[in-house]
Amino acid sequence: MSNGCGYEGCTVGETKRCALENDPATCPHRVTGSLVVEENAGDDTIDSNGSVGSPVLASPVETPTFPPSTTLALAAIDEMMVSRYVTVVGILGDPEAGKTACLASLYLLVSHAKLEGWSFADSRSLMAFEEIARGARRWNEGDPPAQMTVHTEMADDRQPGFLHIKLRRRSDDRSFDFALPDLPGEWSKDFIRTARSDRLEFMRSADVIWLVSDGRILSNKELRQGAITRLGQLAARLRALIIGKMPRLILVITHRDIVVPAVDTIRRIELELAKHDLEAEVVAVAPFSDDPNFGAGFGLDLLINATVREARKGEPFWPDSNPSEEQRSFLSYRRDND
């Protein structure tokens, strides 16, 4: 139908000739069409038959929205920290070491009430967790994918996205807020290779850093030396990045269901970290598993326990100021004021 003609199949718009052999200027179909337009224009109604001045599309209806529960930016974590203590965890490790897998497995364990000693209390980024976990839902005609989670890619390449989860500890009914960043392995890689640390600055205020390492690589004679060296270099970079008190380090070794980390390898990593005056607690985990002896999620409860074990204690509010007998405080006072 051409512009302004009410007759279905009108050809004037394309061929400039009317198929009904009417004169386009006086054709009753066209004339009626334009009359309709004029009538509508008077009513302020929206029509789409191309009359001049009328809106082409109806304006979209604005629906109110709730703040989405996707990954949180640093500012949101800051805001949360104003009202309560949030345990910030830094998660570093090579690409495909299993960082996202740990997070997905943690989420699925709490959603089945299977995280030993802990239960779910709240999450400000529930849909983000759901999205990560759903990565594992897309199966290829029944074959589990080689990687259970989707490779992490950031929409914003300069800012980390945090997942928030609040867990309640059953033993004392205390709840802990965790801010867990889901970072691409490339960020760790760039940090090690070229010291690119602008987007990892939040590590300075982290309570704990998980150094995630693939257990299969650590048990492979050809690959392990490289992995151990990278961990050492990562430690050196952290030393340079973090001024003041170092967050506790936890070495998270994944794929516990397939390989048991060798004592010798762990000792070598410890030596490597010790070069930079650092030490790490070792937790072996299996976020996913086919081995019934090491069920999926094996070790994640230990990882969470280790993460909160020694939530950083503040300086004593009223430090003990009683003079000890041998202390010559008065002499020191005079010396200080000289």
Binding site: T63, A121, E141, F288
Partner: protein, 283 residues
């Protein structure tokens, strides 16, 4: 007289419509905590729903995209005080589902949520619309055999309910006046075994929907109370014997709410189906 609206939330097939259908006869019988003071102007919708129950059937699922239907009824407490009018908008479970998926809701529903006095949250035992969380943590091999199915892209029921609770906190929970109340109703409570009944709906949620249970325990913006609900006191679909017996008597003699005695901590059946409403409007 004040207008107090009570919002009904819950996924598809969670028992909202059946409750409304049963609620009007309960209010009209004037035997419960909350009684109807006069006949509402429009009862067509509740009568339609109740009709299914009268005939010994549960109401079919509320159709998608239907017009919003409010059930507005002037009520008072049984002693005649607290005269108010409650508006119970029935929203199809699909609408809530879409609201969670898009984190969007239409203007008038947003206004309803902000102005609501309280809310009733429905979860039904054994609903076929229930979406379980992904379970490859425990049964990866089994899942590999089943392969792709439609449920994979759906939001698990417990995640959806947690989001709805968050919406309530953001709307009516953010008002400065008194803490709004939320009645958590586990429907089809007649289907659970005696042990589960004695443990109560809260323990049931902790086992079946750990995220919801944890979330409700953690909220500081809502005052939560738990109820078990059976609108007719049995299963009309799968229990022909019960159905026969049910049709013999009037609807008033059927249905109960499981309530908790705060002193003894025991759960018992109470014939008064208006109790969740009474809690939600602050009585």
């Amino acid at each position: 007289m004040t207008n107090r609206s009570v919002i009904l939330l819950g996924g598809p097939d969670s028992g909202k419509s059946n409750y409304i259908g049963r609620l009007w006869p309960a209010l009209d019988a004037k035997a419960g905590l909350v009684i109807a003071t006069s006949q509402p102007r429009d009862i067509g919708y509740v009568l339609d729903t109740a009709d299914h129950l009268f005939q010994g059937r549960f109401a079919p699922r509320t159709e998608h995209n239907e017009e919003r239907r409010d059930f507005e009824v002037p009520v008072a407490l049984c002693d005649g005080t607290h005269a108010s009018s409650i508006v119970i908008p029935d929203i199809s479970g699909e609408l809530w589902q879409t609201a969670v998926r898009e984190s969007e809701i239409t203007e008038d529903w947003m206004d309803e949520l902000k102005a609501a006095r309280g809310a009733l949250l429905f979860i039904r035992v054994g609903s076929d619309q229930d979406v379980r969380p992904l379970d490859w943590v425990t049964s990866r091999k089994l899942l590999a055999k089943v392969g792709q199915d439609d449920d994979r892209d759906k939001i698990p029921t417990q995640v959806m309910i947690c989001e709805l609770v968050r919406y309530l906190e953001l709307t009516m929970g953010s008002r400065d006046d008194s803490k709004p109340r939320l009645s958590v109703i586990v429907a089809a409570w007649d289907r659970v075994d005696p042990k589960t009944f004695d443990e109560g709906p809260r323990a049931y949620l902790g086992r079946e929907y750990p995220l919801i249970a944890g979330r409700l325990l953690d909220t500081t913006k809502l005052d939560v109370s738990y109820f078990g609900l059976s609108v007719v006191g049995g299963d009309l679909t799968d229990d022909p014997e019960f159905r026969e017996q049910y049709l013999e008597n009037s609807l008033d003699q059927h249905g109960w709410v499981a309530i908790n005695d705060p002193k003894t901590g025991l759960w018992s059946k109470d014939r008064d189906l208006t109790r969740p409403i009474a809690w939600a409007i602050g009585a």
